[in-house]
């Protein structure tokens, strides 16, 4: 058990370490490790407009995706848990599950079919990209928040507050929001991380000027090893940051978001 676990961890970290090493290596050609130490790959990645733009695009995209997701999911979960009869709840859960079950390649192709027509000529627009990201990430936020709320005493609170005479909006603001904000936060971290790393859908539907970072990253792989490694580090460090952050948050907030939905 110990052997397999630590074996996996080595396996997990080895490519990352090599990427790190490669990014600082001057020349790496058919040798065990690169020769020379340099910063120049970072500089050249930064100097290329495409990569700089893509970094910004990715960050903006992740942020917008998160915001829209929150605006959609927070009221949705409230409605679903409190107002939906059991059957409608399970249907909703099933529907929400679908975007995860359908491969992103298929969703992307469906987008191409639907939105490159003269009637809906949206393919390539940044908003369509955001919409795509929202569709594929929102199940994760939904399930995080939903599972958290299911496990929370919201229903009891609602009933109690109702008996105390609290109006609907008062209950939403005074009781639901305080209950839900932690899981919204941790769920948003997941969403942001997913959105930042998303390639399969973005690659098909992003407009050239709003290519997120992963899409341009794959082209870095056709370049020099050092350049490619340096280019991955941006994503890598964001990923590490997010994962560290959400771990810390869960550690501190205690009541963690149960990952009802497998990632």
């Amino acid at each position: 058990m110990r052997l397999i676990t630590y074996g996996y961890l080595v396996y997990l970290l080895a490519p990352i370490v090599l990427l790190l090493v490669g990014a600082f290596g001057d020349q790496w050609s058919n040798t065990l490790l690169p020769e020379g130490l340099t910063w120049r790959w970072f500089i050249s990645v930064w100097e290329e407009t495409t990569y700089r733009n893509a970094m910004l695009t990715t960050l903006k995209l992740a942020l917008t995706t998160c915001l829209i997701n929150i605006l959609l999911v927070v009221p949705l979960v409230y409605g679903v848990t409190l107002k939906f009869p059991a059957v409608a709840q399970s249907i909703t859960r099933l529907l929400v599950m679908l975007p995860v079950a359908v491969p992103q390649l298929v969703i992307g192709f469906a987008f191409i079919l639907a939105f490159s027509t003269a009637m809906l000529p949206w393919l390539g627009s940044p908003w369509l990209l955001v919409a795509g990201h929202v569709v594929v990430t929102f199940p994760y936020l939904f399930y995080t928040v939903y599972a958290d709320i299911e496990a929370s005493p919201l229903k009891a609170y609602e009933r109690m507050a109702q008996s105390l005479g609290a109006a609907e909006w008062q209950r939403f603001v005074h009781l639901y929001l305080p209950l839900v904000y932690r899981s919204v936060f941790t769920g948003s971290l997941t969403v942001a991380a997913l959105s930042i790393g998303e390639f399969e859908l973005s690659n098909l539907i992003s407009g050239f000027m709003t290519q997120p970072y992963p899409v341009v990253l794959i082209q870095a792989f056709y370049r020099t090893t050092g350049f490619a490694c340096a280019a991955t580090l941006f994503l890598l460090s964001l990923a590490l940051l997010f994962s560290l952050f959400s771990t810390l948050v869960q550690w501190r907030l205690g009541r963690s978001s149960s990952r009802e939905l497998p990632q």
Binding site: R159, M160, A161, Q162, S163, L164, G165, H174
Partner: protein, 342 residues
Amino acid sequence: MIALENIQFHYPHSSVGVHDINLQVETGEFLVVVGASGSGKSTLLQLIAGFLTPLQGRVLLDHQDVTQLSCGERGLGIVLQDYVLFNHMTVLGNVAYPLKVKGVRQVERHRRARKILHDVGLEALEHYYPSQLSGGQQQRVAIARALVFEPRALLLDEPFSALDASRRESMRQELKHIQRQFGVTTLMITHDQEEALMLGDHVAVLEQGELLQHSAPHQLYTQPVSEAVARFIGRTNFIDAQVINSQRIQTADLGILEVTPHAFTVGQTVRAMIRPEAIIANPVSDIVNRVPTTLVERQFLGAQQRHYLLCGTTTLSLESASTPDHITHVALPPTHIHLFNR
């Protein structure tokens, strides 16, 4: 005052609910509703609270018909099983919340909340969060919150069921104490018969949605109106018998027993009931209803002993503080024998 008039309710697509309930809780009275799980106790409470609306009948609060009012408008204080405190608010915030939703200004609502916290002895804990409180303190917060807006009545749904046995006892005392102090009309639900007897000014027994009996605890125990009530409250011995005349019954194993005058017809089969502590062990020889018996087993219960006695094929249990070495005869005092239809 709470009054229920011919309340009729069942859940959609089912026949379970409560049927034709008439019940009155006087102002300041403490009524305990007791019944087995699923007997409709919570349903009854929800009908009073306004979470459910009866299909027929009326709910009156202080002579006002509130049947069509929503729960928020009825002005009842409700304490549920697990208290349902708002975990993200302090004790003060919790207690002041009912005033907040009514639009009372902060200064005023804090003043009133503090006063009631003082009354329940929690003034020192106002900045604590519910998770930092013991079960008993949480209960008092829940009660304070239910009392802060001077409700017309207090409804409690199994407030002790979440507690372990050792804690329960002291919390019962505390509840009784607070209820007396505020003199608030209270209806409490429990499935624990001992609790009901201990706390209630009156006790109502519910079974399958029907009100079986509604009387003072002592009367409930000593004069149950039906076999069901007798079974539910306390331990009992049942003996099948046949009526000989208005003062005698014939049993298979205990011979002819004298009973207090009754209205059953001669020849009818009945069920006679006697509490284990009412049976007299080794009575004087000229007592009525004296029956020979053999001691089968003895169980030590601490303050009391339980004796399993065999009379023919009938097993009687007898509880007493004393521990006679042998039991050769027992007596069943006629006043303690109750007859029920079979």
